[in-house]
C-alpha cells in the first residue's frame, strides 16, 4: 500500500513537471509520444521473430522451472517408453534449451500409442515471438485501463446536460431525472452484486434492471430494424435509373432465394448435383450473386479502404498531418 502511495506522488509530480514545459517544446513532445506509442505495435509486428514454446508460464507452473541445459530428446523419450517423430523433434530442437525442456515434457505427456507425436502436434507447442511480444498483453491492458478512466468524462457530460434540465425545470425534466436515477441504480446494482452474497437483494435488483429492462430494450431496438428495412426497401427500390434497377433486381433475387415461398417459383427445375439447369433455381442464383458476384466488388472496396487507412495512419503516426487542429498554437 505504501508503494502505491509513493507511486501516486511520483505521478502527480510528473504531471506538475509537465505543466512547466515551455510552449515551444510542447508540440515536439506530443509528436514524440505519438511516434513512440505507434512504434510499439509497428516494431512488434515487423521485427524478426524466433521460436519459443507456447504458453510458457502455464508449463512452468505445471513442470517447474527448467534448467539451462538442452535436453536429450531421444533418451528422454526412451525413458518414458514413447516414440517421437524425428521431424517433430527437429522442430522442438530449434527452441532455446529452457523452452526445449518444457516442450519435451509437454510432448511426452500428450503422446499416447494411438496418438503419436507428429509435426502437427509439435507446431502446436511452438510459437513465434520477438522481444516485444511478451509485452503485448500488458500494453493492450494498460490502454484499456487508460480508456476506462475516460468513462468519467462521458458520464459527466451526460449528467451535466440532464442535471441542468432538472435544475431549470425544462420540459421533459422528468425524463432527465429517470435517466440519472437509472445510471445510479444500474451502476450500484451491477457492481454491488459482485461484492454481495449470492441471491441477495442486489442480485434481484440487477436481475430486474438487466434482464427485465436492458436486455428487452436491446432486443426491441434491434428488432425495430425489421420495420425500417421494409419502409426503406419500399421507398428505395424503384426502377428510377439503371443503378437503382440493378440494386432492386439483385435484392429481389436474393430475397426470393432465401425463403421457401420464393424457391417454389423454380421448384420445377431439376436439382441434381450434375444438372446444369439446377443452377437456375432461385436459391442457387441468390447464392451465386451473394458469393460470386458480390465478392470481388467488396474485395476491391476493401483494398481501397486498407490503403486509405494505412495512409491516414502514417500521416497521423509521423505527424505529417497539417491543418488548423494540428497547427494550433499550444
Amino acid at each position: 500500500m505504501g508503494m502505491i502511495f509513493v507511486g501516486l506522488l511520483i505521478g502527480i509530480a510528473i504531471l506538475f513537471v509537465l505543466t512547466m514545459v515551455p510552449n515551444r517544446l510542447r508540440k515536439p513532445l506530443i509528436v514524440l509520444v505519438t511516434f513512440l506509442s505507434g512504434c510499439f505495435y509497428a516494431v512488434e509486428f515487423f521485427y524478426p521473430t524466433h521460436a519459443v514454446v507456447a504458453n510458457k508460464q502455464d508449463l512452468i507452473k505445471k513442470y517447474g522451472v527448467p534448467t539451462q541445459t538442452a535436453p536429450d530428446f531421444a533418451a528422454e523419450a526412451q525413458k518414458a517408453g514413447k516414440a517421437l517423430d524425428p521431424e517433430a523433434v527437429k522442430k522442438l530442437q530449434e527452441l532455446s534449451p529452457e523452452d526445449a525442456q518444457l516442450a519435451l515434457k509437454a510432448a511426452l505427456e500428450v503422446t499416447t500409442p494411438e496418438k503419436p507425436f507428429g509435426p502437427d502436434a509439435a507446431e502446436k507447442l511452438v510459437t513465434q515471438e520477438n522481444f516485444l511480444t511478451p509485452k503485448f498483453k500488458d500494453v493492450s491492458d494498460w490502454a484499456l485501463v487508460l480508456q476506462a478512466f475516460a468513462i468519467g468524462l462521458g458520464i459527466y457530460s451526460l449528467m451535466s446536460v440532464h442535471l441542468r434540465n432538472i435544475a431549470m425545470k425544462r420540459s421533459g425534466w422528468g425524463n432527465s431525472a429517470t435517466l440519472i436515477t437509472a445510471i445510479f441504480l444500474m451502476a450500484f446494482a451491477h457492481i454491488g452484486k459482485e461484492y454481495s452474497s449470492k441471491g441477495g437483494w442486489l442480485e434481484t435488483l440487477d436481475n430486474l434492471l438487466y434482464n427485465g429492462l436492458m436486455k428487452n430494450l436491446d432486443a426491441t431496438m434491434f428488432s425495430i430494424i425489421a420495420f425500417y428495412i421494409v419502409s426503406a426497401a419500399y421507398r428505395a427500390f424503384r426502377v428510377r435509373s439503371v443503378e437503382a434497377t440493378i440494386l432492386l433486381v439483385a435484392a429481389a433475387l436474393v430475397m426470393l432465394g432465401n425463403v421457401p415461398i420464393g424457391q417454389a417459383l423454380t421448384n420445377w427445375l431439376p436439382n441434381g448435383k450434375t444438372d446444369v439447369l439446377g443452377n437456375l433455381r432461385l436459391e442457387n442464383i441468390g447464392q451465386w450473386i451473394l458469393k460470386k458476384a458480390s465478392n470481388p466488388a467488396t474485395m476491391a472496396i476493401d483494398f481501397g479502404l486498407a490503403v486509405g487507412a494505412l495512409a491516414t495512419s502514417l500521416r497521423l503516426w509521423l505527424s505529417l498531418e497539417r491543418g488548423s487542429y494540428f497547427e494550433e498554437e499550444l
Partner: protein, 290 residues
C-alpha cells in the same frame, strides 16, 4: 392511384406486424404455403435422435438439452429447441434442460417443455428435469466434475431438490449415462461441450447443434469432421426438421412468417413501382394536354 407511390410508412409497419403475427397466432393459415427442401444437415439431425431412441440402452440414459440463448435469438433457437424436445417426447426419451450462457435460457427451455408436456404426458421429475442455469465462468469446471459425478456437479434442480433425488436421474452417474447432447446456441458455447464432455467417456456422445444462421457457416467444419452428428441451420433448419417430424409447430409458423414478410416486401416494391409509373404517365399526360 398516386397513393401507391406514397404509402404511409405506418401502414407498412402495420402490414408487416400483421403478416408476421398471423402465422404465429393461427398456424393453420400457413398450410398451403410451399415447404422448404430438406437439407442433409437436418436429415442427419433427425436420424441421430432416431438412432439414439432405437438403442435399448438409451432408456436408462439421459439427453442433455442445453439452452444457451436468450430472448434476442428466440425465433431461431427456440424453434430448434421446441422441435427437438417434441422429437424427444415422441420417442419417450428422458431429458434434462440446462444452460450456462444466459439465465433466460433455462426459462425459455422450460416454457417449451410446459407447452408440449400435456400432449405427450411428460411429468417433471418422472420424465424430465431442469438442472437450471450455471454461470458461464464455472461451466468448464462444472462439466469436468460432471464427467464422473453428474448429480454432484449439478447440485440442485430449479425446484431446489437435490438432483440425485429426482426420479428420472436415478442411475445417472456420469458421462457414460448421457445418450445425447443437444446444444442450442446464440454464441460460441459449443466448444465447451466438444472439448470437455463429448469425448470424456467410454465412447463419444452423439452431439447435435442448433446455431443461429449467422453462426452456422463456422459450424459446418464440425459436421464435416464428425464431431457433430447433425445441425439445424437457424429457423430454416428448424422448419425442415418439423416437416420430418410431420408435426408443425413454432418453427413452421415462424418460417411462414419469414416467407410472408419477404413476400410482403416484394409486393410492396412492385406496388411502389406501379405507383411511380402511373404518376409519371399522369404527369406526362397533363403536360401533353397543356
Amino acid at each position: 392511384m398516386n397513393i401507391l407511390n406514397n404509402l404511409d410508412r405506418r401502414m407498412l409497419y402495420l402490414l408487416l406486424a400483421i403478416v408476421i403475427a398471423i402465422p404465429l397466432l393461427a398456424p393453420a393459415v400457413t398450410k398451403p404455403l410451399p415447404k422448404p427442401a430438406i437439407t442433409g444437415f437436418t436429415q442427419s439431425y433427425y436420424d441421430t435422435i432416431e438412432k439414439v431412441a432405437a438403442d435399448p440402452g438409451a432408456k436408462n440414459k439421459i439427453v442433455i438439452v442445453s439452452c444457451n440463448f436468450a430472448a434476442g435469438t428466440l425465433a431461431e433457437n427456440l424453434s430448434q429447441c421446441e422441435a427437438t424436445v417434441r422429437h424427444l417426447m415422441m420417442r419417450k426419451l428422458k431429458f434434462a434442460v440446462f444452460g450456462f450462457s444466459d439465465p433466460q435460457g433455462r426459462e425459455l427451455g422450460q416454457q417449451v417443455v410446459d407447452k408440449l408436456a400435456k400432449e405427450y404426458d411428460y411429468q417433471y421429475g418422472r420424465d424430465y428435469v431442469n438442472w437450471g442455469y450455471r454461470p458461464a465462468g464455472a461451466a468448464v469446471a462444472l462439466l469436468k466434475t460432471a464427467v464422473n459425478d453428474l448429480p454432484g456437479a449439478m447440485g440442485k434442480d430449479i425446484k431446489g431438490m437435490a438432483i440425485s433425488q429426482v426420479a428420472c436421474m436415478q442411475g445417472i452417474k456420469g458421462v457414460n449415462d448421457v445418450s445425447l447432447i443437444c446444444e442450442f446456441a446464440a454464441s460460441a458455447t459449443l466448444p465447451v461441450w466438444i472439448q470437455f464432455y463429448q469425448r470424456a467417456g467410454k465412447s463419444p456422445i452423439p452431439t447435435l447443434y442448433g446455431p443461429t444462421s449467422v453462426m452456422a457457416t463456422e459450424a459446418v467444419n464440425y459436421v464435416e469432421s464428425g464431431q457433430l452428428q447433425g445441425m439445424l441451420i437457424g429457423l430454416k433448419g428448424a422448419s425442415e426438421y418439423e416437416l420430418l417430424l410431420q408435426k408443425e409447430g413454432f418453427a413452421s409458423s415462424a418460417s411462414a412468417s419469414l416467407s410472408l414478410s419477404h413476400l410482403l416486401i416484394v409486393v410492396l416494391i412492385v406496388l411502389g413501382n406501379i405507383g411511380m409509373f402511373v404518376e409519371r404517365k399522369q404527369r406526362a399526360a397533363a403536360e401533353g394536354g397543356r
